[in-house]
Symmetry: C2
Subunit: 532 residues, 2 copies
């Protein structure tokens, strides 16, 4: 039984070979700026950890093995640890405190829709909890189910379901199984001249199924749109049977039930096939940096670009604090957009040579007229470091810092207020806790009617950093809900946002969601505690 | 009690002042071509009609009057007839056969969200059926509820709820009540420099709430998108309470519950406020006609325009038959795209002067390279007649013709097959019934991955033309489902498409929809028989 099922780092972010260290100078600077204390627990080694005994009975385990084959069921320590929670800072902090209580009892890897269906039926009968698992990059507590005492839980790892099932060139559609990771999907499509244009920070590790189930949005969303907007059809396995949804580009045939599974975060079923719209792979890509006077002026500029164009493929506007201290650019000489302060704007352009040339030229005219100055090299620098920030977090946690991000989206008219309110809530909460914070922010997803705000927060770890962050995050979430912004633009709800999500849905919306859940998962085995 | 609540024609399409007559020459031509027989029943006059007695008890009626005020409840003959069914050809044929069995027992006009909520609660208690009523332009049986013997039904006419509740210029959003008709909404927005860009054939009479509840798509969808894509937020009144959905341009907060109410066709609740994205009113509009060799070549061309641009604001490609005999252009000398046959393509361009100029010029190069020839005047002619076709239907029905439309959408790769299969199914069904048909088709909504197909069918009325059409329509719907296309691209499901809709949803999808319905409308009073 149970050959090991390899994955990425179980104790930190991503590929262990790419982990980053802080230079001694940077470490000294951060220690001083945040007032870090020595002695924060570091990530454990495998040997020092003792997992709770498996709660799966021998009979239950045998039934799962019967469905997928014994070699696709893993119960070893490392496999279970690799499927322990996600990659939020609280997740990493709990591991550093040797809290292994959420580890699944087995990792089960089905190879087909039929096997997923059979697994779900078997687990419903056993009352075994099922956590659908793609890349494991959740940062909202989406992979740690609430279980009853003694109840077994499995991670349903979809990595074996990684086929390109169909490619329809004329309609520019591809149908994938859910387990394919971002880079591999891109590589397969590039061979045919296509791209999904979907590059979230988790791109290297997250899976297509995860992108769909969490309504992921990538760094190039201004140009390529969100992942959920590309989903034309879905096949879903639930404990109650299968669903095939989506026959046409658009339809007026009733409520759009695909929209229940997009964003369902493994609570309503398992997406086993996704048909996605493709874009032509760009012939040309250009990334530029601009220095703008301030965040308010920059916000107005990106609003204009989003509403009237030319719409860049990538838009990222850092506020003054992030510009001065961009963690992804921490090694850069001088840091930020230059000695003069201000705000850094990254604009990316992708498309045909002619499109890139004409659109970036038109934007340049608008930007220069608004007082923007070129920030040489900043565009390429952003591109080089676009997936690197989470690695830095591991090093900062080692040094005793608490570093975490949170995000929201709102309409343009309320953006200045949301920005100020959320920032203040976090700053105040962490000050009150005796750990003054640095709070950075950027706009990275723009729409005709509004934009996202993405905050990075850094301070010293308190004695109980999980509780410390819980309070700060609650203050931020309260501010978001009070301001009428969405509790999450692209991280998802998980268990971390659940209560605020219900406040935004209202009692009837929450009851409606529960009715949907009851219909599809009457035994309540699918990712309990997430969303509902 | 009961002052009259005026509306558009109760016995045919639209504004009675705009009704069209066939010229004697045209009439002779149509009679000969379709083999029409004399003696088809014409539309009745008001005086000859006897309505079934109201099934609302005095107590029930008094309760409704209590909620909205007596002067907003109408029970007169004309009011009830004005809310009898919708505007499909079978609806008109039933009226011509003096079948008044679906008439509501009263027409109730609430003035606010609170009144709608209270009405729904009262009706749930009384078990009175509620049919939410906007413009009354349904062509899919969306306004004739299935009732139990003796059960009362009211039309909930939303015309009094016609306010612009909020305008947010910075975010380019407007919040409307649902009862506003298309032209009035446009007029109010144009004053501020905006448009919704939503011009379905029902534009002049249909309401914003109806557009949302049926996932309407307008003639300019290639440029402005579909109506449902503009909906950012919704307020809904249900028998179980209120919902407020939508806080941001986009969100990753779970399943998108707005998508349950878009397309809900009055079965899950009543939309009482809609927040919509606005577009700048175009400074320039240009419409052009092109003659293309054939429908296959034309489809390839519009696919290119849809996928790689320049994407027109309006795209309408008629097949050979429609080009030769376009009902909207029946009076034009020579008809169609010219003596040479081929296919007529309409391209419309809206935007700034520079956008219209550069895009239409680029498209011209592509079109000419593909062998397209300008069809002088065809663009303007289409624009003039864009809302007129349904008026012609009344005249054709009088002459003994059966004229109806049906539509679907599919991916580009399956479009030739769907076109051929649906056409064949309709032609065969009507031939077998002894009434050979003329079948016309056009593509009028294009997407990156596919397009809509819109069929117009004309033949002689048989003795029972409702049954005659039911058979032909069933054959077409079977062909649509067999080909994997959607049962409706923009007409909606109503009761006419319900069975095929359920086949496409599958048993679990249908059960899911029923679970949603049960949660929101446990008494089943909202538009029963529609959708579910």
């Amino acid at each position: 039984m149970s050959q090991r099922i390899g994955t990425t780092s179980w104790s930190g972010w991503g590929d262990p070979g790419h982990s980053r260290k802080l230079s001694p100078e940077m470490l000294a600077l951060v220690r001083q700026a945040l007032g870090l204390r020595d002695g924060a627990p570091v990530a454990p080694t495998l040997d020092e950890l003792e997992l709770p005994a498996s709660r799966l009975s021998a009979t239950a385990l045998a039934r799962l093995e019967e469905v997928v084959g014994a070699r696709h069921v893993a119960t070893g320590r490392r496999d279970r640890l690799e499927h322990l929670r996600g990659k939020s800072t609280p997740d990493l902090l709990r591991l550093r405190r040797r809290d292994l209580s959420d580890a699944p009892d087995a990792v089960v890897c089905p190879g087909s829709h039929a096997e997923v269906l059979e697994l779900l039926a078997a687990c419903a009968q056993q009352r075994t909890i099922v956590v659908p698992f793609g890349g494991g990059t959740s940062v909202v507590g989406g992979l740690a189910p609430r279980r009853n005492r003694g109840q077994a839980a499995i991670a349903l790892d979809l990595r074996r379901m990684d086929r390109l099932l169909a490619l329809d060139r004329r309609s520019r559609l591809a149908t994938f199984e859910p387990g394919l990771r971002g880079p591999e999907a891109e590589a397969r499509l590039r061979r045919h001249g296509y791209t999904l244009g979907h590059f979230p920070q988790s791109f290297e590790f997250a899976s297509l199924g995860g992108f769909a189930a969490t309504r992921s949005s990538g760094q190039a969303s201004a140009g390529y749109g969100r992942f959920d907007e590309r989903v034309v059809a879905l096949r879903v396995a639930t404990p109650q049977g299968s669903l095939e949804l989506g026959q046409a580009p658009k339809s007026a045939a009733g409520p759009d039930l695909r929209q229940l599974f997009l964003g369902s975060e493994g609570t309503l079923g398992v997406i086993t096939a996704i048909t996605l719209e493709l874009s032509p792979a760009p012939a040309e890509r250009r990334y530029e940096g601009w220095s703008l006077p301030d965040f308010a002026a920059g916000s107005e500029l990106v609003r204009q670009l989003a509403q009237d164009g030319p719409r860049p493929t990538v838009v990222r506007l850092s506020d003054e604090a992030e510009t001065a201290l961009d963690p992804a650019r921490a090694g850069a000489p001088g840091g930020g957009a230059g000695a003069g302060g201000g705000c850094l704007l990254i604009t990316g352009w992708e498309g045909t040579r002619e499109q890139v040339r004409s659109r970036s030229r038109e934007a340049r005219r608008l930007l220069e007229a608004a007082g923007a100055e070129p920030a040489a090299g900043a565009g390429e620098q952003w591109l080089d470091g676009r997936f690197a920030a989470p690695y830095l977090r591991d090093a900062l946690l080692d040094a005793g810092a608490l570093v975490e991000t949170l995000e929201t989206a709102c309409f343009w008219s309320s953006l200045p207020g949301v920005y100020a309110d959320v920032r203040r809530a976090v700053v105040n909460s962490l000050s009150e806790q005796g750990t003054p914070a640095v709070v950075l922010c950027h706009i990275s997803h723009v729409y005709r009617s509004g934009a996202s705000l993405y905050f990075t927060v850094a301070c010293a770890q308190a004695d109980d950093p999980v509780a410390q962050w819980r309070r700060a995050k609650a203050a931020a979430s309260d501010a978001i809900v009070a301001a009428g912004a969405t509790i999450t633009h692209h991280h998802g709800v998980g268990s971390d946002h659940r209560d605020w999500y219900h406040r935004q849905l209202g009692p009837l919306g929450t009851a409606l969601l529960r009715a949907v859940k009851r219909q599809l998962d009457p035994a309540g085995i699918l990712n309990p505690g997430v969303l509902v």
